[in-house]
Amino acid sequence: MGKVNIEIDGKQLTADVGSMIIEVADEADIYIPRFCYHKKLSVAANCRMCMVDVSSLPKAVPACATPVADGMVIQTQSDRAIDAQKSVMEFLLINHPLDCPVCDQGGECELQDLSVGYGEDVSRYVEGKRVVKDKNLGPLISTDMTRCIHCTRCVRFGQEVVGIRELGATGRGEHIEIGTYIESTMDSEVSANIIDLCPVGALTAKPSRYKARAWELRESPSIAPHDCLGSNVNIHHRRGEIIRVVPRENESINEVWLSDRDRFSYQALTEGKRLLKPKIKKNGTWQETDWQTALNFAVAEMKRIIGVSKGEEFGTIVGNNSTLEESFLIQKLIRGTGCNNIDFRTRRRDFSKDQYSGVRAGFNFPLQDLDTMDATLLIAGDIRHEQPLAALRVRKSTGFGRAMAINPFDGEYNFRLYQEIQPEPHLLAQEFACVLAAAAQKQPDKINAEIKDWIEGITFTEQHAIIVDELINGEQSCILMGVYVQEHPQAEVVNWIAEQVARLTDSKWGYMTQGCNAAGNKMAGAVPNQSEFGGRATPGKNAKQMLTEGLKGYLIHNCEPDVESLWADQALANLQNAECVIALTSYEDGRVSDYSTVMLPIAGSYETSGTYVNVEGRWQSFSAAVPAPGESRPAWKVLRVLGNLLDTSGFDYESSVQIRDELKEKQENSRDKKESRKTPPELHAASEEETKRDSLGLYMVDPMVRRANALQQTSKASTHPISISRVTT
């Protein structure tokens, strides 16, 4: 790309040909006021706030829509520019209601800031102002459309970034309105980003409506705990109460966006029914007690059951969203007592590779590369609802590349699919195998005898060939497996095929995982066959066995197997029949109080420090943003004390950072064992029964989300995104 030399406010700058003045100015830290321009959205140039004075032009021009030219001399502070800015500001305020005192945006409002910074200090307008009817956009976004200045950022966001156009600008001139025209709610899973985009108070967050002013809020960085991307967030809190969660810019993970799930799940912490004191169930009734008593009780029960059954009859289920530190401590603690039954994978059916599995994370390429894929093959997943922000990236790539899917279910995509194959769920692996066969034929020099044998007899169709062609021809291509794949009874087969296809077509491959810390939990050793970082461990029962076979005692940490596991009904029955269930939980509602014997209150997300390892294997540590309510304590502290009481050694940690550092050291010292399985897995038909089950809904994934009121009121909450298969139902 060519370069041109320009001058802004006397500063000599070099810029790429074709870039807009405002981009160059931003780069050089020269601020030009703007409302409609946003670096992640297309240029609309309809607010006219960014007028600058270009010496060669007779009138002031909008900086966001004027490309630079060689020798341009631009002034942002000349009389002409300032005149233009003042006029625009006056114009924008003509119809703006006198709402500042009751407006949630007050104090962080771009209109206020620019009015003070660039506008006049007194109005000349005395006529009546227009009024626009508010729209009902659902339980997440509250509207005050009279305040709208028609920058159309929200419209462009829907159109360009999400790909679902829900909002539009109807009418013309004074009658222009932003809205859905027909009364309807906004249902996209990333809808609330328009709250951040809105420069005025027209779109504000409903759950935190009127709660706090921007200047009262303290900001603490954290990591969102609901999907495997590990979106970076800032927790805004006041006097120890979380008021809202907003995205923290991280170009390599969440860019500037945040899914609604990550944004509003905090409600569970502030409004959910929190467990504030340890409780012991005595004769069927709950009694509040102190930590000492509760811990002693739990320890005695654990010792009793583990002692009697030699560890066979006690099982530990770790929640998907446990931090790395918690998982590490809990597995260390359980293995220290001589029990080996520990697992976090309550949604996995295929344990065939357990004894070989290493600790690799889902992706072997950076998440950011999804943006630039020429070909993306999605295998069985509902990426929009499982990892909303990853879907935005895939959508970005479809601007020039092609997305394809092999999905047994009705997928809702916010991008166009070039090819779509819809096999029956139980034949997913078989269908995918055809792709491998096609790939093998296209790349005969890359295959070995083993694969040759494996694909023997598998035929493929034109469609499979096209998919393979796309993967091969694309300069960058990837195979992306959805969460459902890991729930499939033939997960390992599909994984293996994906790896082989990727190798043959020179693509990247990765699988999405349930929860935010699947990779971390695995690294920490919260699986039955290996301790931290693939260390050797005596094999124990896996989650399926623990939940379906029925044990005498359970330790459940930060999860509700009766809701989120694949064997929910069996799990519930077995938990109810168990002699003792020790629950480390933040909430006391739900069935946990029904089946548990002792409840230990632990801090929720954002109230504890720890580390999440995302799907790329990126370690992201965070510290507590707010204190835990009542007597609840960070789980790592609870586990540390439990470890001491159980007389297991090595539980003298003083901070979660200390645990993390120890783990980091261990990781460096352990060489990630190459996945040693040489022989390819066997391809056989899975039972229809086992593949039928619905996946968890968008807002059902973990205990926190399930208790977030506003999210539960959305239309997406009631529907299971992957529900019906056209073929099977």
């Binding site: 159109q159 679902i164 156009r165 829900e166 909002l167 539009g168 600008a169 109807t170 009418g171 013309r172 001139g173 004074e174 009658h175 859905t180 025209y181 027909i182 009364e183 309807s184 709610t185 906004m186 249902d187 239309s715």
Partner: protein, 181 residues
């Protein structure tokens, strides 16, 4: 997006005759395949003419479905252009520009005069169904402000006399037709 009022079964083909559909298809063909929005305007025009000079929400939705564009894209077009009517209108729609130039030249007086003459308010239709008055944004005739448009004809440099003259001409034109009925 859930359109609560939208009935999925409603298809454009059920709303207008095949000949009109063909006309829309003809318009669609004029634009590149991946450009779906340009035909919205001609399509709406066809549908409106078929429906007696106004559009219903269902029709706009049906057009959106037919053209495979978001519903709101059609609403935007239909609400932007003054030639699309969203309510049942009189035989003659008097579109008075009240934008800047016209306002400076006395558009509010034009509106007031029309309202008094026809005894209706802006956006209403006379009882006999002959006239509707509509407030519109700039129609690019600022040189002859104040102006109004009726039956696709621009009337510029309006005065009260001129308005009266236009109205009586219109009424006169229509008289025979009314008698025919």
């Amino acid at each position: 997006m859930t359109d609560l009022s939208y009935d999925k079964s409603l298809h454009l083909k059920e709303l207008i005759p095949q000949s009109e559909i063909d006309e829309i298809d003809c318009w669609i063909k004029k634009y590149p395949n991946d450009r779906k929005r340009p035909p919205i305007m001609p399509a709406l025009k066809v549908v409106q003419e078929n429906n007696g000079n106004y559009l219903t929400t269902e029709m706009m939705q049906a057009v959106a479905e037919y053209l495979d564009v978001p519903h709101v894209a059609v609403y935007e077009v239909a609400t932007f252009y003054s030639m699309f009517n969203l309510d049942k209108m009189g035989r003659h729609v008097l579109s008075v520009c009240t934008n800047l130039s016209c306002s400076l030249r006395g558009a509010d007086k034009v509106v007031e005069h029309l309202q008094n003459r026809l005894n209706i308010k802006l956006g209403e239709t006379t009882k006999d169904g002959l006239f509707s008055i509509k407030e519109v944004e700039c129609m690019a005739a600022c040189g002859g402000a104040p102006m109004l448009e009726v039956d696709k004809i621009y009337h510029e440099n309006l005065t009260e006399e001129k308005i009266d003259q236009i109205l009586s001409e219109m009424a006169a034109k229509d008289l025979p037709t009314q008698e025919d009925k």
